[in-house]
Amino acid sequence: MSRSNSLVPYLLVLPGFLLASFIILWPIYQLGLISVSDVNRFGMLKGFAGAANFAAVLADPEFLGALWRTAIWTIGIVGGTLVVAFPVALILNQEFYGRALARIIIMLPWAISLTMTAIVWRWALNGESGMLNSALRSLGLIDTNIQWLAQASTAFPVQIVIGILVTVPFTVTIFLGGLSSIADDLYEAARLEGSSHWQTFRRITLPLMSPFVNIAIVLNTIYVFNSFPIIWATTQGGPANSTDILVTYLYKLGFRFGKLGEASALSLMMFVLLLAFTLLYVFMTSRMAKR
């Protein structure tokens, strides 16, 4: 009786586990298999290649450049989003006339596909007929058109700004959830004790929000690290690979150049990097649950 009881939980978990393995573990197994194989451009395995694919990726100078830019890209967007989203969430958490409308406006970009947003930006950034230049010109801020996407020194920062804009809605949602979970009595008690706005923010809001900030950082890092559409739709990683991040470089490697072995090796490396972040995420949520 007790023996069969101890089996029941596992039996109940089994279907879900099988489904998850099929969806998650099987592709990883395939990826691992291809990454150590000699593979033709159509994904047919031609034999064992050992670590040759990994070595080829690591030896490619474009890889290091893309890795470095991925770091800037991820830190820039995740950090920038934090800086923008926190005040926005604080404002949206106040009672004011038209708050519901303001919340909808902040959330709206989330409803549009990322690729569509990126393509609209590509038009807006066009040097001769783009809206950004004509807006800046009519405001008198610039005299000659800026060719935003012509060189990495302007293209990459603009891409990061677009990244921040599309990441803000999700982050604000998390923060609003966090803010509404802070009990009003805490603020009331603080007011009675005569604490200033800054002290309330510093001593109550910020510490109680830290788990939500952490989660936002980890989740955004995972999304942004793998984000493909913004860069691909605006510059395809160009000119001369100067705006490539790992995931755009991966696409070129796999589907343009047909080096599926190297592409698999690279995506495994990216997977390991992200797995580290995911473990961090699990660790944080479990810590938050204990509180």
Partner: protein, 410 residues
């Protein structure tokens, strides 16, 4: 008595089974979407084919050009490819080497072969076997804006790069938002835009010794020419942010004096900017009279693992009749690959297309080598660095040539 009945039943069962098998004859065709007309055209062809072959179900899968190779790769690695597919002819070697494309010669007779212009059929022939039929053909020529020429006081259309350079500077002087020469510096065919000058200076993509032709005098001179046009403000500003479509848009808006592109721009101008006064002429020649245009064909191939090859061939045979080719070619703005189609008034009397077909003797096709896409990307990267002024011309081209030679050695 019983026996006879049994036999009859068995016979009718077999017949029924046979009929249902024939019914299950499904022909899958992957086609690239060249324009919004591509899908409807192939659907119409499928319906017509099903009408004359009631046992066949033709399934057309329309894929945007940009993701065609990706879809084919995924389909093939999953063993789920269609029976027929359009591919870029420059990928054909990979398909043939891996045994994916079926040779078609057993199906073709001389009369069938004679439907085609040889210049377009020959890129699909490897080791004396025909592996694909040219479904779309295109070349490049120079478009020029007659109004801008007149305003700048230019009477003759440039025939050499020297003349083009002078004309481009005159036109650029007309205004801040007017550019003499539209120079493409981004995305697909950025390398090809550089080859026009490379060929004019007598260069080749792959030299006779089998190494890259970029690190040659022709390569350096071609790059210097383009860089000098950029530095003289004779091109649109920020060339590395202009894809072929972006430059075409400038041309349609009347902001660019000259640009080199494919015949389909004529159709776009007809539909979107009918008042634009433009002409089509040959790509300028170099100092020694060399010139070259880029010839491109897409082929339709039959997969070796297809189980309905005979049906697939019947469908191909229909697609390459004059009637169906004419409809397709006129709709998409390609060059005719069928001799009879070329003779129809729609094409024979088209002044723009005549300029393109006149260039065909100078047409150069992408070399048939594996890894061509990567070589093209290396070339694009190198010329982008030069256009940006980030790298010295010789250094940049020499570096690119070195990595291209590595690819060629593999």
């Amino acid at each position: 008595m019983h026996k006879a009945l049994l036999r009859q039943t068995a016979l009718s069962l077999t017949l029924a089974l046979g009929a249902s098998l024939a019914n299950a004859d499904t022909l899958r065709v992957t086609v690239a979407e060249y324009s919004s007309k591509t899908g409807p055209y192939f659907e119409e062809a499928a319906t017509a084919f099903e009408k004359s072959n009631p046992d066949t179900d033709v399934q057309i899968e329309v894929v945007p050009w940009d993701v065609l190779l990706q879809k084919l790769t995924t389909d093939i690695s999953g063993n789920a490819n269609a029976d027929l597919s359009i591919i870029g002819t420059r990928w054909l070697l990979d398909f043939v080497q891996e045994g994916l494309a079926a040779p078609l010669d057993d199906y073709m007779d001389d009369a069938f072969k004679e439907r085609f212009f040889d210049v377009f059929l020959s890129p699909s022939v490897m080791d004396d076997q025909t592996y694909g039929l040219p479904v779309a053909a295109s070349a490049r020529a120079m478009y020029y804006n007659k109004d801008l020429f007149e305003q700048a006081g230019i009477d003759t259309v440039p025939q050499t790069w020297q003349e083009l350079s002078a004309a481009a500077q005159k036109i650029s002087a007309l205004g801040d938002d007017i550019a003499g020469f539209g120079l493409q510096g981004k995305e697909i065919e950025t390398d090809v835009y550089f080859y026009y000058a490379l060929w004019a200076y007598g260069g080749q993509l792959i030299d006779d010794d089998g190494t890259s032709g970029l690190d040659s005098d022709a390569g350096y001179q071609a790059a210097e020419l383009y860089k000098s046009l950029i530095d003289a403000n004779a091109t649109q500003p920020g060339v590395t942010s202009y894809s072929r479509e972006d430059v075409q848009n400038l041309f349609k808006q009347g902001k660019v004096g000259m640009m080199i592109t494919a015949p389909f721009l004529s159709n776009q101008i007809r539909d979107e900017a009918p008042d634009l006064q433009y002409g089509v002429t040959a790509i300028p020649a170099g100092p020694d009279g060399d010139r070259g245009t880029y010839g491109v064909t897409d082929s339709i191939i039959m997969f070796e693992n297809s189980k309905v090859k005979d049906t697939a061939w019947k469908f191909l045979d229909m697609l390459f009749t004059t009637e169906w080719r004419e409809k397709f070619t006129a709709g998409e703005g390609f060059l005719p690959v069928n001799q009879e189609v070329a003779a129809t008034p729609a094409f024979a009397d088209n002044a723009d297309l005549k300029e393109f077909t006149a260039l065909l003797p100078d047409a150069r096709f992408a070399p048939v080598i594996t890894g061509w896409e990567e070589i093209a990307a290396k070339t694009s990267d190198a010329v982008q660095r030069i256009y940006l002024g980030d790298a010295d011309i010789k250094e940049s081209l020499d570096d690119a040539a070195a990595s291209i030679n590595d690819i060629l050695d593999n």
